[in-house]
Point group: C2
Chain length 311, copies 2
């Protein structure tokens, strides 16, 4: 299915969602869920995180999940990597794209990856060198986490965010998105900071990764769209958050985000009914886990028709 | 308290909220709740609906509630009136402002007030005549309901909305806002229709009354703000909906809306901590009723300070 999407919805549930819940989803359930997401038209999925299984047992099957996802034609298979070692494993597994979180908050950087921000920029440089060496076709994103505030240190200076986005691009990343890891962003700030980052790194400004901690997730996505952002991270059923940013639960719900864009006439390439149907394998794989999302609960509006072009 | 508010938050919980729940809040509890809303800095409250107690027993104490609200200095005391008879009762009770819902959907108009849209325009004219006669200082809003879609008829023509907004102003209303009664609005549509209505009636374009049925409530408020709307209806704890628009529950949550604006640096004149505290008398008066709102649950962000000017 294709409908010349005007925005790219990057589904992060299988990584960001699953690593935030206590239960471990069995591998076959993960694969079924990823298949259902793909069937709805989603064409970029963060399928796993390459971290030591001791730290995140939920991600112990990362290589197997990647191998399956690679069989889905046209899907960009992404993985999160916290460092060079994870990047090496991800590259060897054959992913199309790696994403490395680099925190704009000094306190969060130490808590999340036990490295300073400057050390993380050097990690980007090392990962870039490795990639050029063993998998030069693979894309690398360095996402700026806690870009809009930090539950540990409070406010994060906008200058720090702009500096860091420039630094990771200089160190070799292909793009740098901005993450509201802690759910503290507001629309005015989103517009201001994305505009500044774009002025610094141009088209290498990447995805908006928003959380719905205070209910502003979609408003912040709209604000980002208004200033030219065209890639949005979200999680089916709003699964996920960040285990090292207390109280920061709640990714933007993919279903509501896709509904917003499609209702606005902005094509996502995603079939809303099939997307909502993808909640079933998620529920089957994580029995008892609370699912979020208003659109699945209310249903699509009377008379709402999605124009989808099948090719 | 005053901080030169840049937007007016019009709290509709005591009317829209209470008329949508099955339980009837005891009058003393209503008064305590209204006092708490006022104490937080809210300066416009829709305190009651003047409808026959047979239809809405929750509103049987409308006159008593209005009488109490009138003792709060600087508060604009609003009431909803469905028709001339309700308007007469509200004017006699001494309200500062009446609001009459006029549906842009032919089907919803008949279901909600058993009148055609044209008959409702004539009702506006009769109410205006009455008001000029007995209470010329009282303001009258005619809010266009189902302005963004209807659960009964589906899509609502934008031309109908623009025509109706012009017609009610011509018939004597001071202002005409737009209501997403059914939770079907999207930000692109909100900007388009408010722009068209403003082109038609200028500064007489009134409040944005949004619902959160599909999670887009705040995004739609942001969209309305972007095109110049400065009055927003919302309901503490998201209480409410429309009993005659099935599945349309969920007013925008006042707490989240105020947080969004204050975080953006747009002054509301409302103290967020006191606003969140106003949930206590609501809970006390409606035991067991589910309350919504993300900001009260997550708390204010670390380091978040509201600049409030006390005079």
């Amino acid at each position: 299915m294709s409908s010349n999407p005007q925005v790219l919805i990057s589904e992060v549930g299988p990584r960001d969602g699953l690593q935030s819940v206590k239960a471990t989803m069995p591998t076959p359930a993960k694969l079924s869920w990823i298949d259902a997401l793909y069937a709805s038209g989603i064409r970029e999925i963060e399928v796993a995180s390459f971290v030591p299984p001791k730290l995140l047992p939920q991600m112990a099957d990362a290589t197997e999940v990647v191998r399956h996802a690679l069989t889905l034609p046209g899907l960009t298979v992404m993985a999160l990597v916290p460092n060079l070692r994870g990047a090496e494993a991800a590259l060897k597994a054959g992913v199309h794209k790696i994403t490395l979180p680099v925190s704009a908050s000094a306190a969060h950087s130490l808590a999340n990856v036990r490295k300073t921000r400057e050390e993380m920029v050097e990690e980007v440089r090392r990962i870039d060198a490795l990639r050029r060496d063993i998998a030069p076709h693979v894309k690398m994103e360095a996402g700026i986490s806690t870009a809009f505030g930090c539950t540990l240190q409070g406010a994060v200076a906008e200058d720090d965010v702009v500096w860091l986005a420039g630094a990771v691009i200089e160190a070799g990343a292909d793009e740098s998105g901005l993450s509201d890891t802690t759910g503290m962003a507001n629309p005015a700030q989103v517009r201001r900071i994305f505009n500044r980052v774009r002025a610094e790194i141009g088209d290498k400004a990447g995805a908006a990764h928003m959380h719905n901690t205070r209910g502003l997730g979609l408003a912040n996505c709209l604000a980002a769209y208004d200033v030219g952002v065209r890639t949005f991270d979200s999680s089916l059923a709003g699964l996920g958050g960040c285990p090292y940013a207390p109280g920061a639960s709640g990714n933007v719900v993919t279903e509501d985000l896709v509904f917003m864009f499609e209702a606005m006439g902005v094509k996502t390439g995603i079939d809303l009914n099939k997307l909502i149907a993808a909640r079933a394998p998620l529920m089957a794989g994580l029995p008892g886990e609370p699912l979020y999302g208003m659109t699945p609960e209310s249903g699509l509006p009377k008379g709402f028709v999605q124009e989808l072009a099948y090719v």
